[in-house]
């Protein structure tokens, strides 16, 4: 009998492997904007990982952390794209 927590652990493991693959693009990206989209993708994966860890540990305050992280991720993306377009914030 497979517990649901084992499936959550497996999902977290696969997502962390995906994050490591994205870090390659964030480090080796040829231009600045490749790094920006790599960081955006890593942030989106981090939100899902934080919610899954919160359910796994029965400490559901992690959902608030994920909400704040989603806000920060959006602000970071918009600010960096504005910096790329106009050269200043």
């Amino acid at each position: 009998m497979i517990d649901m927590h084992d499936i959550f652990n497996l999902i977290i493991l696969i997502l962390v492997l995906n994050v490591f693959l994205c870090i390659y693009r964030a480090l080796m990206g040829p231009r600045a904007w490749d790094r920006v989209i790599a960081i955006n993708v890593i942030g989106t994966k981090t939100i899902v990982i934080v919610i899954l860890i919160g359910i796994l540990y029965d400490s559901l305050y992690f959902v608030d952390v994920a909400l704040v992280y989603a806000l920060f991720n959006f602000i970071l993306t918009v600010a960096l794209s504005k910096y790329i377009e106009f050269g200043t914030l």
């Binding site: 649901m4 999902i11 790599a38 993708v41 899902v48 919610i51």
Partner: protein, 100 residues
């Protein structure tokens, strides 16, 4: 109960599949616009599927409401962020990649 567990597992693995596809596109595609094409849609659909599975798993509670709020926020803001980066780079004069 068994059927609900099966549905939740299917939704979680579907979301993980789309995340993996987005990562593969980010690594393998040759240009910024093609990379954005992969990640913008793959991430949005992955978050939608995984959080829908978690909402079904947790049942009705205040935590579920917060997860639905996060899902709506990401479904609204991920295409907006993608469009912002794309417009900024296109206004720099970068032409999209073409096969020669």
């Amino acid at each position: 109960m068994e059927l609900m567990d099966f549905i939740v597992t299917a939704l979680l693995f579907g979301g993980t599949f789309f995340f993996t596809t987005a990562t593969l596109g980010l690594l393998r595609f040759p240009d910024l616009f093609t990379r954005l094409h992969a990640t913008g849609k793959g991430d949005t659909l992955g978050v939608g599927l995984i959080l829908t599975g978690l909402v079904i798993y947790l049942g009705l509670s205040p935590i579920t409401l917060k997860i639905i709020i996060i899902m709506t926020f990401i479904l609204l803001t991920s295409p907006v962020g993608t469009h912002c980066i794309c417009r900024a780079v296109y206004n720099q004069g970068i032409k999209p990649w073409k096969r020669r």
